[in-house]
């Protein structure tokens, strides 16, 4: 397991499509990655709905968010976490590979240098 203590964690806890909050959090993560800063992403609470399969953002004239997540991976953002309790609550039992389900608790956050949640 990577030593995460130097990594910045960006947290998304708003569902996708309802507003730009998650997109702007993701932009921060992408910028850090683009400047070679170690960064990880976490989807917490209602934000786990970003990970639901079968989305079609075009139905509301928006880009499907999985494309943004794909961009994140291309930029080198490797570590993506999801709040395990929220995954259960929202009935998402199969996230895409490369997403680690974790408890959203002090021990988890303590592993990161900063926790940023715009």
């Amino acid at each position: 397991m990577n030593d995460t203590r130097n990594i910045l964690l960006l947290v998304i806890d708003a569902p996708p499509y309802g507003d730009w909050r998650g997109r702007e959090a993701l932009d921060m993560a992408l910028s850090l990655a683009a400047f070679d800063q170690p960064v990880a992403l976490m989807f917490r609470g209602e934000g786990v709905n970003w990970l639901r399969p079968g989305q079609d953002g075009s139905a509301t004239d928006q880009k499907t968010v999985s494309r943004n997540l794909g961009a994140a991976r291309m930029f080198g953002l490797a570590d993506i976490y999801a709040d395990e309790d929220a995954l259960v609550r929202f009935g998402i039992d199969k996230t895409e590979p490369g997403v680690d389900a974790v408890p959203a608790n002090a021990a988890f956050y303590a592993r990161f240098r900063e926790v940023i949640q715009p």
Binding site: D3, R44, A106, A110, R113, E114, Q117
Partner: protein, 106 residues
């Protein structure tokens, strides 16, 4: 310059001691998320709408809790509302942010 994190420094029992800045009232999901993220030696500073938690009898607050006095005064919450919570002015807030290298805004 930012101090480097020593990679072989022992972690405290559950991790790095942290100052939490919480500006949201108990009804906001982040209030609960913040509570779930607190460790034993962390400090919680309530500011803006979060200070109404002082008057919310359904909310338990950790032992090391401060509240920004300007937000308490604005809301009529500066007198005798909750034992054990320290009211701090902005200088007190700066003393806290100076003291804690790790700060999480909720």
């Amino acid at each position: 310059m930012k101090e480097p994190v020593e990679s072989n420094a022992p972690l405290k029992c559950e991790g790095q001691v942290t100052l939490h800045l919480l500006n949201k009232p108990p009804s906001h999901p982040r209030f609960h998320s913040c509570m779930a993220a607190l460790q034993a030696e962390d400090h919680l500073l309530l500011m803006e709408n979060a200070v109404i938690a002082l008057a919310d009898s359904s909310v338990a607050l950790p032992p090391d809790t401060s509240a920004l006095v300007r937000d308490c005064l604005a809301r009529g919450l500066a007198e005798g509302v909750r034992d054990g919570v320290t009211l701090v002015d902005t200088r007190g807030m700066v003393e806290l942010t100076d003291r804690f290298q790790r700060i999480i805004s909720w």
